[in-house]
């Protein structure tokens, strides 16, 4: 998919494949990752750093949960809903997870259409992704308000260890912030795609750099990362 990205005037030397290729790339001049643009490299390294942030949050949560001397509230009870008189554990979280994973699918399709330079479909799929993301944040807001109504606070809750509320609000809040930022970026990029900025290689206002469809993929990297983090939060916070 990434074939049209390389500036046509630039040639690259033939390189060996496999481990020898890796060594050759790192021993070469100019770029360690051949055919990886600056923007993509930067996003990958940022995500590595962000992984450490979420990793620290989750490890802190786990150590608090293991060290607590009072009972930890049972997540399947706390996050259950009464739907039509039926008690369904974790139903909202299941729907949220489904929505977020689906948004990864639409995002991947947007990237695909972006490289086909299909302006309309790319923009439409990015909008759908943003909509899924906004739905996720909306459901999270519902979940928060439900818990708050039931008496869960950052400093305590009716069922057990106070750290339940603190870690819950902190970790889901931090993840929700990531999703919100992602939605905003999706909307901005979708607008640019729709306007045809990347077909005309319109220059950034501050940066003077030409716009490329690759930014759709870079946004996608971020979006998939946020989804992946959710999978870990889901597993460690809700299923444990």
């Amino acid at each position: 998919m990434s074939a049209p990205l390389k500036p046509s005037s630039m040639e690259t030397l033939p390189r060996p494949s496999g481990l020898a290729g890796l060594a050759a790339d790192w021993a070469s001049d100019q770029r360690a990752f051949k055919n990886v643009s600056w923007g993509k490299a930067m996003m990958w390294i940022f995500l590595l750093s962000d992984t450490f942030i979420f990793g620290c949050f989750l490890i802190a949560y786990m150590s608090a949960r293991m060290a607590t001397t009072v009972p930890w509230p049972n997540p399947s009870e706390v996050f259950a809903l009464e739907i039509g008189g039926v008690h369904v554990p974790l139903i909202l979280i299941a729907i949220m997870t489904f929505v977020l994973i689906s948004s990864s699918g639409t995002m991947a399709m947007a990237v695909n259409y972006g490289y086909r330079r299909d302006r309309r479909k790319t923009a439409a799929l990015m909008l759908i992704t943003a909509l899924f993301g906004a739905t996720f944040v909306g459901m999270q807001a519902f979940e928060w308000s439900k818990l708050i109504a039931e008496g869960v606070r950052p400093w305590g809750n009716p069922w057990g260890a106070a750290q339940f509320g603190s870690t819950f609000f902190m970790i889901t809040g931090f993840h929700g912030t990531h999703v919100t930022i992602g939605v905003i970026f999706l909307l901005i990029i979708a607008r640019k795609v729709w306007r045809g900025d990347f077909d005309t290689e319109r220059r950034g206002f501050f940066t003077s750099r030409k716009g490329h469809y690759e930014i759709v993929e870079i946004t996608g990297l971020y979006w998939h990362f946020v989804d992946l983090v959710w999978v870990f939060i889901f597993a460690f916070f809700y299923l444990w």
Binding site: Q30, M42, G55, T68, P154, S208
Partner: protein, 592 residues
């Protein structure tokens, strides 16, 4: 060793990336203030860092006045003393050293040394500085906030950091400190991503990783570490901010204060210590690795000799960087831990001595039979080696659990880390400024003033920190506002404390000479020309000095050799610039 690398005497690979088009500033504001030029950003970073560093210097004076002459300066009460300690430590470690090495030298040197026009994302780079400035302003604001800055000690250990009897604990102090750190980390990340991607993806034709000057290796390894270690501090700050503002109990156990049970309960202070030191120990090397890199280049240039064991130097930097991520709990021996953990962390800590010793030997072997010019950068580099060995040896003491436990929380620890991560890196900073000032301004710094500055700083810092080891071995605890009449403190300690304080005042005052030199030489310094040190690295080969926006004029440089071709036999001069095409295969590179 047989040279298997391509490049020497062969064709340089063709360009893979189009030459970038930079943002062209349209006004004075976008040229000099909101500039996207890494060199301007570097100077902004450095100026801000030095300015806030002067505040920390004055704070250390105030502390020394109290310790040397207790009961004389009544305005330095215990509360203020703790506030001075905290702010001095935090400013020096983060807002001065980290910002100056990575934001200052990183921004100036990386694009020039790897042959790039600028950082890869100049706009994010500019934001990085302005967010850093905001962090500094928030930090400074805490001096003027009700209750003053936090006095929790630079490690900000809970629970005391947010209790109401700690200075700044119930007021604004701790809140502003934590917020400032969070802002700093956000700003640093924007810059740090730039430095790493520029080195990995933005090098000139012919500039392989193994041809980069060690300065770049040091800075970029430190940046990678910072990108992985700062998240832990970020998380710790967020959680403690919540403890203080929302009443959560991440780090707060059930605790009574002034006979009153507080609302907190169930949190773990040890968790904070782990998060803090997972950041805190790599931080030592975030400061030290750029210093290692820079000092290697200073020694090689001013001894007119290729650096000894370049590849080993690179690998030592990388190995130190990796190991330093798994040694953090050696700061926590006295907090108590499973003995096997203590064993693990003591082992990893002592293993770091191996790559570090390789570096020291290689510096000394580079000097051996070199054509040593005792210029100011060289003097500072030599002073660094001596100081670093001194500080490093006491580190071996403190890395052992059984030796550490009695020495922990004494002035011995203060002496140790001031030698190894205070004085040593700052000596490198001075050397680096004397070395690169001609490139930045086009003029040399005044030699006489520089000699005065060097000798007072070098000898003076030994006058300060050598006696402090003894004071610590006697058992004088650190962070004590007043020693009083304790029976175990001999009279010699009191007189030494007075001596140390006088030395500290003198060394501090000598820095005014340095600042005066910086300003005075801007106009009156000797014209330097493009390459006054006859150095090989790319930054000295720019068509103009100081280099303009875009660095290289029309054509990007092409690199034909490594950075250390000094005194090559048969070459017309005793240095061959990296961008000089090779006649045949004359280079030391193959032998390295």
């Amino acid at each position: 060793m047989v040279d298997v690398r391509s490049g020497i005497g062969e064709a340089v690979p063709p360009a893979e990336v189009e030459d970038v088009e930079l943002y062209h500033p349209h006004s004075w504001w976008t040229r000099y203030v909101f500039s996207q030029d890494a060199k301007v950003i570097a100077i902004q970073y450095a100026t801000t860092a030095i300015a806030i560093g002067m505040v920390a210097l004055v704070l250390s004076w105030l502390m020394r006045l109290q310790l040397g002459f207790p009961d004389t300066f009544t305005f330095i009460d215990a509360e203020r003393y703790y506030q001075f300690i905290t702010m001095h430590g935090m400013i020096m470690v983060i807002y001065l050293l980290t910002a100056l090495f990575l934001g200052g030298f990183g921004n100036y040197l990386i694009p020039l040394m790897v042959g790039a026009r600028d950082m890869v994302f100049p706009y994010a780079n500019m934001l990085s500085y302005w967010i850093y400035l905001l962090a500094v302003l928030v930090l400074v604001a805490s001096f003027f906030a009700p209750g003053g800055p936090t006095g929790a000690g630079w490690t900000l250990y809970p629970p005391q950091a947010i209790l109401s009897n700690t200075p700044g604990g119930k007021d604004w102090g701790i809140i502003l400190m934590l917020s400032s750190l969070i802002i700093f980390i956000i700003g640093f990340t924007m810059g740090g991503l730039n430095y790493v991607v520029t080195v990995l993806q933005g090098r000139a034709r012919g500039m392989t990783l193994m041809r980069m000057p060690l300065t770049v290796w040091g800075i970029v390894t430190a940046t990678v570490m910072a990108l992985l270690a700062f998240p832990a501090l970020f998380v710790a700050c967020v959680m403690m901010l919540f403890d203080r503002l929302l009443g959560t109990s991440f780090f707060m156990p059930a605790i009574a204060e002034m006979g009153e049970q507080l609302q907190y309960g169930g949190g773990s202070p040890i968790l904070f210590q782990h998060l803090f030191w997972f950041f805190g120990h790599p931080e030592v090397y975030i400061v030290a690795l750029p210093a290692f890199g820079i000092v290697s280049d200073l020694i090689s240039t001013h001894a007119r000799k290729n650096i000894f064991g370049y590849r080993m130097m690179v690998w030592a930097i990388v190995v130190i960087g990796g190991l330093s991520m798994v040694v953090w709990a050696h700061h926590m021996y006295v907090s108590g831990m499973n003995p096997y953990f203590g064993f693990f962390f003591a082992t990893t800590t002592l293993i770091i001595a191996v790559p570090t010793a390789i570096k020291v030997y290689n510096w000394v072997l580079t000097l051996w039979r070199g054509n040593i010019h005792l210029t100011l950068p060289m003097l500072f580099a030599l002073a660094f080696i001596v100081t670093f060995v001194n500080g490093g040896l006491t580190g071996l003491f403190l890395g052992n659990v059984v030796v550490d436990v009695p020495l922990s929380d004494t002035m011995f620890v203060v002496a140790h880390f001031h030698m190894v991560m205070g004085v040593a890196p700052i000596l490198v900073i001075f050397g680096a400024i004397y070395h690169w000032y001609p490139k930045i301004t086009g003029r040399m710094l005044n030699e006489a003033l520089g000699q005065l500055h060097f000798w007072i700083t070098f000898l003076g810092s030994y006058a300060i920190f050598f006696p402090m080891h003894y004071v610590g071995l006697v058992g004088v605890p650190r962070r004590y506002h007043d020693l009083g009449e304790a029976a175990f403190v001999p009279e010699s300690v009191h007189s030494l404390n007075a001596f140390i304080s006088v030395a500290a005042l003198i060394v501090g005052a000598a820095q005014i000479v340095f600042l005066f030199n910086l300003v005075w030489s801007l106009r009156h310094g000797r014209e330097a020309g493009g390459n006054p040190w006859r150095a090989t690295t790319l930054e000295w080969q720019t068509p103009e000095t100081p280099p303009p926006h875009g660095n290289w004029g029309k054509e990007l440089p092409v690199v034909y050799r490594w950075a250390y071709d000094y005194s090559v036999p048969g070459a017309p001069e005793d240095f061959i610039p990296q961008n000089q095409p090779a006649p045949g295969r004359v280079s030391h590179e193959a032998a390295s």
